[in-house]
Subunit: 344 residues, 4 copies
């Protein structure tokens, strides 16, 4: 059994890690921590865990000591020292925060107003999007687990970009996220009566996930990709839907397009390429690690519309982190993640 530690266990991503690893057949949680709830049981914070997981939140140091793989779900800026400690102690560190995601320190400074403290760790950190970078993940000691938006949009666009059928400019990612994406912290905007029956964009064309999406897309293109990224807040708990628009470089048929995606995602269990006429829907992936993708061509405007849906807390956070762990520890990638998304 892999010994797992979770730092930041009482946040939403942390709590989802607790849920998923509890039923993982080859991993067990040996310690959890939480700054806000140190000394309290996780089941006091999340009553759905009563009788199932009643572990007490310790401090981060204890977690690092007891575990062989440490998941950290922390606000950005807090993971770097933790990564150092894990690395020095030969632990695997899987960071669900933003600190190791951007290869360029310049971009990190620009978008996060922070600095890279241990540059060598940033150099060795691997961006944990298995469908794209599986080989590098295998031997990694530090994983930068992608954000929710940054998993969904690239999964929709990369095959087309890699095949050279779409432009590297003029790409638009119009994304819609469930509320858990905003985390557990209280805010007026997420107070039930003010969000319910509402819908709005936020951080229009200035969200921090922009450079991260561009970084992934660019790694599959022959020049820098620039996107316009607009996130919206959906009045649902879970799910992200990315509706991605990309100008086509040349005429292409749906059959050709489909073949490109089929070839690219061949053997990828978590990618479900939907049949023609179907549309990706967050309803069909919730609570699971699947990414559903539907493809559409706008012949009138010569545009690809690629739509991807994931559960932001699973494929967009905790599930993907476990997928990375499985790869690193040589397990079948699906271990603990063969979840059937509920029909309702």
């Amino acid at each position: 059994m892999i010994k797992v530690g979770i730092i930041g266990a009482t946040g939403y991503a942390g709590a989802e890690l607790v849920r998923l690893i509890t039923t993982h057949p080859q991993a067990e949680i040996v310690a959890i921590s939480s700054v806000s709830f140190e000394g309290q049981k996780i089941s006091d914070v999340y009553r759905s865990y009563v009788n199932i997981n009643e572990m007490i939140c310790e401090n981060a140091d204890d977690v690092v000591e007891k575990a062989e793989v440490i998941f950290a779900a922390l606000p950005h800026g807090l993971s770097q020292e933790l990564a150092k400690k894990c690395y020095d102690n030969d632990k695997v560190f899987i960071d669900l925060g933003a600190d190791f995601r951007l290869k360029s320190e310049e971009e990190y400074k620009e978008w996060y107003k922070g600095e890279y403290v241990h540059k060598e760790l940033h150099d060795m950190a691997v961006y944990g999007l298995p469908e794209f970078y599986r080989d590098k993940i295998k031997g990694a000691k530090i994983i930068a687990n992608p954000g929710c938006y940054t998993t969904c949009s690239p999964l929709a666009l990369v095959p087309a970009l890699n095949a050279g059928v779409i432009d590297t400019k003029g790409i638009i990612c119009d994304c819609k996220s469930g509320v858990t994406g905003a985390g557990r912290s209280l805010s007026q905007g997420n107070h039930y009566p003010e969000l319910n029956e509402g819908f709005h964009p936020y951080k229009v064309a200035c969200h921090r996930h922009t450079p991260e999406i561009e970084q992934t897309l660019t790694s599959f293109a022959d020049e820098k990709v620039t996107i316009t990224f607009v996130p919206h807040l959906l009045p649902v708990n879970r799910g992200i839907l990315a509706t991605c628009y990309a100008p086509l470089k040349k005429d292409i048929t749906m059959e050709e397009l489909r073949k490109i995606y089929q070839d690219f995602y061949k053997g990828e269990y978590f990618i479900r390429l939907l049949d023609d006429g179907q549309v990706a829907d967050i309803h069909n992936v919730k609570y699971s690690n699947f990414c559903d993708i539907s493809l559409h061509l706008d012949k009138r405007a010569n545009l690809l519309v690629a739509v991807a849906a994931i559960d932001n807390m699973v494929k967009g956070a905790a599930g993907q982190a476990i997928q990375n762990m499985n790869i690193i520890f040589g397990l079948d990638e699906k271990t603990g993640l063969e979840i059937v998304p509920p029909a309702f």
Copy 2:
């Protein structure tokens, strides 16, 4: 008091007309009709109207005879003969359906598979989007009341298009609608457990509102405008949010952009141009005839992002129809529509 008749009163748009006209100080409903519920009380269909409006549904002929202005909320194809009858009897006809919206019969044939029976009526029909075509509406006998998507997107884009600051190609309207937009007819997709906590696009780049939006946009441009229009279904009752992307033809500052919109919508009570930093939200317009617009510039991609929010059943249907009636009958345009959108 203006004598109002409503044909198709038990559909959602019809029921909303009933609600709004009931409190209109200068109009009264004299007759309503419904094919499905003829002989039954509207309050048997919508229990919220008990004791308030218990009118019995008659047939369409009775409605035409008794009223001086007839609102029709019918599936497309059924309004043409009705329009003829109204016209022949010198009644004002306000059509909430699609039959008179497209100027081009070719486009109607292509998108609706129907024909124009009385071409002279189509020639005289006026597209009832008051903020754009108020002067023509004043003397109209036949109003083609715009659809919901086709109100929201043009309101977001027309000032920029009219000022020549955006391209006529490459415009994308990513729209999200509440469920009432799909009407009262039952479908598996709108069955509560299958829609709730879900979100998906539909009719991707092939929805019938596409040519209607293009027609309005083109009327403010010097060449044919082509758009990509993708609607999505939101798990809320009411509201449409249109996130519209348009390539900028030249550099423009937010101040310049704002001035263009302010000038264009000067004096328009129902248009609320939000301050910088604010975002349009369907939460803030529900049950009202307002259209909230927020403007955003993506400097990195040289793109305008204009976001508009309306209540699909009010500004997107019944409210706008009443606004048109007010104009035709010489009333203050706001009469009966000075609704305060509830804060929650």
Copy 3:
């Protein structure tokens, strides 16, 4: 025009008063106050009011000075001094808080842990449930506007109690409230992802509205009425449904029961006694001042089941407060409150 002041205007009840009085034809808001947002515009707090009401929040003293009727929507304990000031300045004071609701200071002490400072004001305060106490309301200077639960349950039970057909013991009020009832203050329990798709009781058999409901019921019985009151939190914005169970003292037919309710509520515009076979539903009263009541007999258990539905923010708070104002100022009781509940 009646000059209205609203103290605590940025809480939910206050914001609802703003919404309703804005369209009241014979009242106008002359001043509003808010401790949290003094100096800010109400439209900065509630964006749905942009362009409609952009009044700046002043302090409470200014409001008392400028207005002739003062509505206060404050946490309990804060209204007594305010009432004194209003009374001394010959203003009408309508309190949406709890300070003047209980006639018995003992009960107030027990349930609210507070004291009655100006006992003479408590003596003259009138409990503002118009359908029961209209005559006393007419000349009142201080109105104790009932709470939401305390409007709904008595409206369901009083006619039967008054007619002597149900017991004064063994009555159960199982109530379910929308989230706005919990107010605007943030709490983990009302954070969207933790409330959505959930449902639970709270303060089981120990909620402060218990003695208030009993006080009203007892005023229509010949002995002290004791109830069991259990509130639940519904994942909807608005509405309260009270399912009230009362043992029948004798056999009674539905016809007899119906006649008792019809006679009792004769001429009451805001009470809608539903036909046999119908059930009260919060869906049908939302945004309005109506109370829908459905009656059911359980012959097997010899029990009355009376179900009442109101909008907790309107008939359960702001709407009823305005109804009280209308009565005091000699207006038609319906003025400003003839709202058609939307069908969806």
Copy 4:
């Protein structure tokens, strides 16, 4: 591996069986049937199952032939012949419908207007509520799997009834169910816009689950128990909350009460007796087979308030059916059901 067949697989209970058995480590689905979708894939009906379960719906006869345990999720009246066929072929039959639940044919006739065709099968059928009747279930060939309401209310009340601390008359079960309880069939009442933001009771004191709840309660009392049962429809997908009121026969402390429940449910994995001060919430059990119970005493009215929450589709249908299968086949009762309820 136990060979499982599911008849009525495309209804909600059937689809939930498909979901749960797919991940059951010691059972496999060998055939499914559906009258409405014969010849189609289950994944065409429920898109969340794409790539996971794409079995084709056969007819019921094929299912009986191929499987060793047959689950039937059918409207009442259709299970009796099926049970006969299974019995004659020595298959285990687990009926999620109502045909075998009532021991009294008289009550079946009264509430379901049907007859018992094969009386000997009704005699041998065992009511499948494991926490109460585990021993009988062990050797059963025909299981009458309880309905959703009929699981939840008895679990809340039986320990107190069994201990003799509550009356057998005057019990009230005020229950609230998520919409999946109404099934997949379309109805206006479950059309999204007409249910959303609504809440209402239905079949007040006349729902068919009444005699079934009474039958279970009576089996733990020394006289016939009569209840008043009022179900309500919650605007959520899943979950039932039963708020049960029962007059206390004598004074009892919370400690004594708690001990009664602890002793009764000792070792029951799926029963979570919550700590004092906690309340049962459907949020905490969804997607799982748990039943959360919170206990409350109303000292003023001398009443027990016992609240139970389950997922209506799991412990109230498919999960409990699998629990029964596990018992019959000698597996650990929890097999395939150790689900962690998601925290959000």
